[in-house]
Amino acid sequence: MIGIALRRLGWSIVVVWFVVTATFVMVSAIPADPGKAMLGPHATPDAIAKVNALYCLDQSLAVRYGCWVDNLASGNLGESYRSKRAVTAILADRVWPTLQLALAAILLQLLIGVPLGVLAAVRKGRWPDRAASVFGLLGQSAPTFFVGTVLLYLVAYRWEVLPIGGYGEGGWDRLRHLVLPAMTLATVGVAYYARMVRTELAETLTEDYVRTARAKGLPERAVVLRHALRPALGPLVTLVGLDLGVLLGGAVVTEAIFAWPGLGRETLQAILDVDMPVILGVVVVSAIAIAIANLVVDLVQLGLDPRLRDR
C-alpha cells in the first residue's frame, strides 16, 4: 500500500513539473515584451532594456528557466510585472476565497445532486425521474454566465434576499455573499451528480443482494439507503476529488459576475497582461491542487476497494 502511494506521489511530482515547464515555455513564446507593457508608450529603448535586465528578461530561455526553478525551490515565485507585488502574496490572498467557493459548490452538488439522483432512481420512469432528467439537461447545458446572471437578477436584485456581489466582511456576511456564486458554480455539478447517482443506483437496485434484502422484508428506505446507495457512491468519490482540483484553479466566469476575489479573475487578468510570474504561480498552485486531489482520490479508492491494490 505504501509502495503504491509513493509511486503515485512520484508521478504527481513529475506531472506538476511537466505542466509548469510546458507553461513556462509557452508563455515565453508569446511575442510580448513585459518591459514595454510596464513602461508604456513613452519609454525609450534604454529604459526598456534596463527593466528587462531587472527581471532577467534579457537572458536566454534556459537561463531564465534555471533562475525561476532556483527561486521556486526556495519558495520565491517572483513579483508581478504589473503590480510589483510578490506572487506568493497574491496567491495567498486569492487561494482562500477560491477554496471557500470550491468547497461550498461541492457541498451543494452533494447535498442537492445525490438526493435528486436517489429520487430519480427510486421513482425511475415516473415524474420525479423525468423532472430530474429535465433539470439535469438544463443544468448541464445552461452556461454559467446565464445561470449566474439570472440568479443575480432574481434572488439578489429583485427579491433582495442576498447581496449582489463582493466578498463580504466575514462570518455570516461572508456566507450570504457566498451562496449565489456557489449555487452558480454548482449548477452543472448538481445535474451531473444527479444523473450519475441515478444511473449507478438504478443499476445497483437490480442486483441480487438488493433482491435478497427486499426478500428479507426490509423496508424500501433501508434497502435503498443502507444497501444499494453505498456501492453506488463509489464513482462519486472520484468525481468529487477531481472537481475539487479543477475548482481550485478558479472559476473565471462566476468570480467575474459576483466580484468574488478568487484565483480565476487573477488568472484571467494575468493572461491578458502577459504577466508571466503570476501566470506561472497560478499554474503551479492549480497543478499541485489537481495532483493532490488525484492522489487523494487514488488513495481513498485503494482504501475502499482492496481489489485495486493488486493491480
Binding site: I30, D33, A43, T149, Y157, F258
Partner: protein
C-alpha cells in the same frame, strides 16, 4: 412537466419590469454637510498605490484622493490652479519655475510637508527604471545624469529652505506645469519610504484629503478623511470605498439597490435605459474623455505611403454608424485633440462619409479595384465591434481587411515597430489636456524608433516637427494655440490615421450625492462631493 409550471410562474413574476426611478432623494439643504461614506466600484483592479509606478486609470482614481501636488486642475475644468503651492513664478526665459508652498502644510501624522519632499519624490522616479514617468521629466536639467546613475541628486530640482522649490528646465516646455499635477509628482518623505520598504505600493504617504484606511487587494480600498489637511472643504466625506473588479452589469444592479453611490461606464442596456428615464435625468452626467480612438497606418508602407489612399479610407468610414454602435457615447473625431483640449481647431469637421469620393481617390492613387490588407486589433468587445464596422465600410470601396486579434501586450509589441503590421486599431489617452501629451509622442519624428515607437505611423514631416517644437517652447498661449491649430490641419490633410472618435463617459449618482460631477481629467473626483443624509441615512423618495 407539471412541476415546471410554478417555476415558470415565479420566473415570469420576477422578470416584470420594476419601477426603477431613484429610491432616494435630496433634501432642501444647500450647505455642504460632513459625514457619510461614498462607495463606488470599478471593473478593473488597482494595480498599485505607488505613484511612481501607477499609470492605470483605477489606481489614479484612488491616488487622486490620496495625494496632492504643487498644482492641480480647477474643480470642473482643465485650467491649473494652486494646490500645495501657494503661488509660482516662471522666469522670463521660460526655464526656471519657482514655487512657494502654503504655510502650515502637514501630513496625517502631523509632521510638516516641506519642499525637500518634492525633490525626494521626483528624484526617486528618476532612479527607478521601472517608472513610466521618467520620460515626462526629460526636459528638467540634469535628469539624464540621474537616470544614467551618474548622479543621485538632480541638478535641476532644488529645495530652498522649507517652503520654496525651484525646478530648472534644460529647454522650455510650456506644458511642464501639467506634469507637476500628475500624482507621481506628489511629495514623499525619505523616512516614510524607508519604513514602508516594499509595502510602499500599499501605503502611499497621504498628502491629499484622504488616507488609506484598509486595502484588501483585489477587493476593496477604504479611504478615510485624514487629519491635518489644509483645506477642510475638500474632505466632506468620512470615507470613500472603492470596490475593485466588479463587472459593469453587477455595478449597476448594486447602484440601484443602494450599495453604491455612483456608477460609471454603464453597459449598453443600462445606459440606454437610464438615459431615457426622466426621473434619473438630473443625476446622469456625461463627460468627454481626453482620448481618441481610430486606426493608424504605417505611412512608409504601400499602399499607405500615398496620402490619397489614407484620405480615401477616412472618407470611407461612416462615423455616424460608430456613434450608433456605441449608443451615442462617442463624438466623431477630426484629429487627436478631444473637445475641450487646448489648441484644438473646432472649425475642422470630421471627414464626411463619402464612399464616392473615397473610390475616386483610390482610382487616382492607382488602386481602382481596392486592395486587401491585414488589420490588427485588440481582443476586446469594443475594439472587435469597431473592426467589424470598419471592415463593412471599407468593403464598400473595395478595400478588404482581414481582422487579426491580439492581447494588449502582444499588440503593443507587434505594432510599435516599422516592420510590424501596417494597419491597426489605435487609441490614445492624454496624460494632460495639452497637445504636447498627444501630438508630440504620436506624430513628431522624435517618436520614431525601431522598437516601441510612440509615433507608430512613422509619420515624418519636418514642417510639423518644427511647428510642434516651436509650440512646445512658446510662452504665449494665444500664439501657441494658433500653432496647434495649424498642426491639426496638417495632420487632418495628411491623415496618418483614420480619425475615429472621442469617448464620452456616463456616470450616474444617487440624488443624495451632492455637488458632484465627473472631472474632465480625473473623471472620478469626490473631493468636492458631500452626502445629503438625515440621521446618517438617505431620505426615501
Amino acid at each position: 412537466m407539471r412541476p415546471l409550471v410554478p417555476l415558470l410562474v415565479v420566473a415570469t413574476i420576477g422578470c416584470n419590469a420594476p419601477d426603477r426611478g431613484p429610491r432616494w432623494r435630496e433634501t432642501a439643504a444647500t450647505t455642504p454637510r460632513d459625514g457619510g461614506v461614498l462607495r463606488f466600484a470599478s471593473q478593473e483592479r488597482i494595480r498599485t498605490l505607488d505613484p511612481a509606478i501607477a499609470y492605470d486609470e483605477v489606481s489614479i482614481y484612488a491616488l487622486h484622493h490620496l495625494l496632492d501636488t504643487l498644482v492641480d486642475y480647477e474643480p470642473a475644468g482643465t485650467r491649473l490652479a494652486p494646490r500645495l503651492a501657494e503661488r509660482w513664478e516662471l522666469s522670463s526665459d521660460g526655464l526656471v519655475y519657482h514655487f512657494w508652498l502654503r504655510s502650515g502644510l502637514a501630513y496625517g501624522d502631523g509632521r510638516p510637508l516641506i519642499a525637500a519632499d518634492f525633490e525626494f519624490s521626483l528624484e526617486r522616479v528618476l532612479r527607478m527604471p521601472e517608472s513610466p514617468f521618467q520620460a515626462m521629466l526629460a526636459d528638467v536639467a540634469g535628469v539624464q545624469d540621474v537616470i544614467a546613475g551618474k548622479a543621485t541628486d538632480c541638478a535641476g530640482i532644488t529645495a530652498i529652505g522649507v517652503r520654496e522649490l525651484e525646478i530648472r528646465l534644460a529647454r522650455p516646455n510650456a506644458a511642464f506645469l501639467y506634469v507637476l499635477a500628475m500624482p507621481f509628482a506628489a511629495p514623499l518623505r525619505a523616512d516614510h519610504l524607508a519604513t514602508a520598504g516594499d509595502r510602499i505600493r500599499a501605503m502611499p504617504l497621504a498628502s491629499g484629503p484622504y488616507e488609506v484606511g484598509t486595502w484588501d487587494e483585489g477587493q476593496r480600498l477604504v479611504l478615510r478623511r485624514r487629519a491635518h489637511y489644509h483645506d477642510r472643504s475638500r474632505q466632506h466625506l468620512d470615507g470613500i470605498v472603492l470596490h475593485e473588479g466588479v463587472a459593469r452589469d453587477t455595478q449597476f444592479l448594486m447602484f440601484e439597490r443602494g450599495e453604491l453611490e455612483t456608477a460609471e461606464r454603464l453597459s449598453a442596456p443600462d445606459y440606454l435605459w437610464i438615459t431615457q428615464q426622466r426621473a434619473w435625468a438630473p443625476y446622469v452626467h456625461t463627460q468627454a474623455v481626453m482620448n481618441v480612438f481610430g486606426s493608424r497606418m504605417n505611412v512608409r508602407v504601400k499602399p499607405f505611403d500615398d496620402r490619397r489612399v489614407r484620405q480615401a479610407l477616412n472618407y470611407a468610414l461612416d462615423r455616424r454608424s460608430i456613434s450608433k454602435l456605441l449608443n451615442g457615447t462617442a463624438v466623431p473625431a477630426h484629429g487627436m485633440l478631444a473637445p475641450g483640449a487646448f489648441g484644438r481647431d473646432d472649425s475642422l469637421a470630421p471627414y464626411p462619409y463619402d464612399p464616392e469620393k473615397a473610390r475616386a481617390l483610390l482610382r487616382e492613387a492607382g488602386y481602382p479595384a481596392g486592395f486587401s490588407v491585414q488589420y490588427v486589433t485588440l481582443a476586446n468587445e469594443e475594439a472587435e465591434k469597431l473592426a467589424a464596422s470598419l471592415q463593412h465600410d471599407l468593403a464598400k470601396i473595395g478595400v478588404r481587411i482581414e481582422i487579426s486579434l491580439m492581447s494588449g501586450p502582444t499588440y503593443e509589441t507587434a505594432v510599435r515597430k516599422p516592420d510590424g503590421p501596417a494597419f491597426s486599431f489605435t487609441s490614445w489617452l492624454a496624460d494632460f489636456p495639452d497637445p504636447t501629451s498627444s501630438l508630440d509622442p504620436r506624430f513628431h519624428s522624435r517618436g520614431i524608433a525601431d522598437e516601441n515607437a510612440s509615433n507608430d505611423s512613422f509619420y515624418n514631416n519636418p514642417e510639423l516637427d518644427q511647428l510642434l517644437d516651436a509650440a512646445r517652447a512658446e510662452p504665449d498661449a494665444t500664439k501657441r494655440a494658433a500653432m496647434y491649430r495649424r498642426a491639426e490641419r496638417i495632420l487632418y490633410d495628411d491623415a496618418p490615421w483614420i480619425w475615429g472618435y472621442h469617448q464620452v463617459t456616463t456616470e450616474v449618482r444617487q440624488p443624495y450625492v451632492r455637488d458632484y460631477r465627473p472631472h474632465p481629467m480625473w473623471l472620478r473626483d469626490y473631493t468636492s462631493a458631500w452626502l445629503d443624509l438625515v440621521d446618517g441615512e438617505p431620505v426615501l423618495r
